[in-house]
């Protein structure tokens, strides 16, 4: 029961969906459409469980007074506040003047956006302190990076204005993007495609079972 049922479910769902791709008939299409919608509905509950685990984690920290537990209090408080706000009425999430929207645009947004913008500083610092042309390959990589960087900004062409039109840095950058870059990414994508196909196959046939986790 504990291992067999999930393996049977995975096999039936997976094999049907993989073969359905080759069968355009309307009966297969109807099953396919409903199976997809079921996936979304089940998925909603999976996401809810993820949020449940988050609450668990922080509740545990607070109740055991683990290191820096007051921060967990902030998290739980914010979660409860936002949930109550959002579920209070169907219009809560749609009203541009509502508190839910304000929290989104003036609290959630700036923090998320700023977190990511820190990367601008990090990349600059790494460029200065760590990106070295130590080997042939690293040299090639950095050269291609610098050309693309210059080629994507208007200043790049101004710097190479002495070159005839059609051979300036932006054209070189385009050439790199269009040809060697395409070749490299194609080789990688063919590998990725085969990798995903192999993993999917192993999951459907029950060869790959790590998702079942340990236990009986």
């Amino acid at each position: 029961m504990r291992r067999e049922v999930p393996l049977v479910i995975v096999f039936i769902c997976g094999a049907f969906m993989a073969l359905q791709y080759f069968v355009p008939h309307n009966i297969s299409a109807v099953i396919y459409q409903n199976a997809l919608n079921w996936t979304i509905i089940i998925g909603i509950f999976t996401l809810a469980v993820g949020i449940g685990s988050l609450v668990n984690l922080h509740y545990d920290k607070i109740s055991r007074r683990k290191e820096k537990w007051p921060y967990s209090l902030v998290t739980i408080g914010a979660l409860v506040f936002m949930t109550v706000l959002g579920l209070s009425s169907p219009e809560a999430v749609q009203d541009p003047r509502g508190l839910f929207m304000k929290m989104y645009f003036y609290v959630l947004s700036p923090v998320q956006a700023t977190m990511f913008s820190l990367l601008a500083f990090f990349i600059a610092s790494a460029a200065y302190r760590a990106f070295r042309a130590k080997t042939v390959l690293a040299t090639l990589l950095l050269a291609s990076a610098v050309i693309v960087m210059l080629g994507r900004i208007p200043v790049g062409d101004a710097l190479t204005a002495w070159m005839p039109e059609g051979t300036r840095i932006s054209d070189l950058a385009r050439y790199i993007l269009d040809y060697p870059n395409t070749a490299a990414k194609r080789a990688i994508y063919i590998g990725v495609g085969l990798g995903v196909a192999a993993t999917s196959l192993k999951i459907i046939l029950g060869v790959e079972r790590t998702w079942l986790g340990g236990g009986k």
Partner: protein, 416 residues
Amino acid sequence: MIQPGKKIPMFAIVTLLSVLSAYIAQAQPPHSHMTFVDPDSVFVFKYSSLAPQPGPPENLAAADSPNDAGGAISISWSKAPGDNTIFNSVDGYLLYRSASLDDGFSFLTRLPAGSTGYSDSDPDLKNGENFYYQVAALYGRDTLYAETAGPAVPGAQLFHTKRILVLLFMALFSGTALYLINLAKRGGTLYVRPIPGIDAVDDAIGRATEMGRPILFVPGLGEASRVATIAAFTILARVAKKVAEYQTRIIVPNYDPVVMTICQEVVKEAYSSAGRPDDYDPKDVYFVTQDQFPYTASVNGTMLREKPATNFYMGMFYAESLVLAETGFVSGSVQIAGTDQLIQIPFFVAACDYTLMGEELYAASAYLSQEPQQLGTLKAQDWGKIMAITLMLIGSIVYLFDSGAGEALKNWVIGG
């Protein structure tokens, strides 16, 4: 695999220089392209006596659309006289449909000049019923009707004929994969070439011992079930075993609690198998936090305090990759990275001594663990690559003999 300290080979410089000089050699600006059709002359042609006599479109045909669930009919015709860029004398086409030839046709849609077909998927089209079509060409105020076509009967198909190559490829690839995994399970030998990075691992641990400094192993930010994280466990097992043998120290800061539990098991096991179970210190494999940047800050702090001789970054990495690699570089550690996150690979290559890129990480893991499932999958993917390359070359060779056949083959491969 990136190897340090290698001199740039002469031929690389020569190639680079010649490509560069050839590039600069095209010193002339591109000439403006010759235009064969002057837009003004088109206007003249339209009313010239050279224009062919107006006539209805010919060869009207209607048939069930292939490869669908039914409810659609494809209609095609050949262009009416004068419908081309030179004379431009047709203004458009009108399409009509009827359920029977006696009832008279009702208007369906108007299509622009140059059209030669239409796919009708109106909800009225019931599978198994008859439908007739008529098309007319518009010449200014004149409408010239073609002969009617039909009956066409919409219906559903059981097999999508344009996807046959996908099915073939899928079957062949799946068969190969299953065969190889089973072969490996039964103890058959599957050769995987040694991955150069593995030797580097041993060297790096020797170096740490000489310097009397610890080794830092960062298992990434992925969950325990990700392929890259699983590969990281295999590599950690190898590293920890060597560490135990050399009697140095290994530090493993974790982002994910589940990953931490497994890492503790792996390191403990490695110490036991090296015959030094007592040297294992569980406090060195610890959980930090599940917040990306604070985790990074904490690992950075560890690097600066402990000054590890070697840093390993194995598994899933996101934006923190370059921050970690930078700190490690500045504190003078040898750095070995491995990830399947394509976006992060460039940063690791630029700041680390060795980088296992994408599939190389899986290969290293398969090579070290000799686990049948990993080996079989890796080999099957190798066969998949051979199949892909063969298909590419066949395509180009067919072109050499007959470009029409080449084009047809290519379209068949693209499918639908």
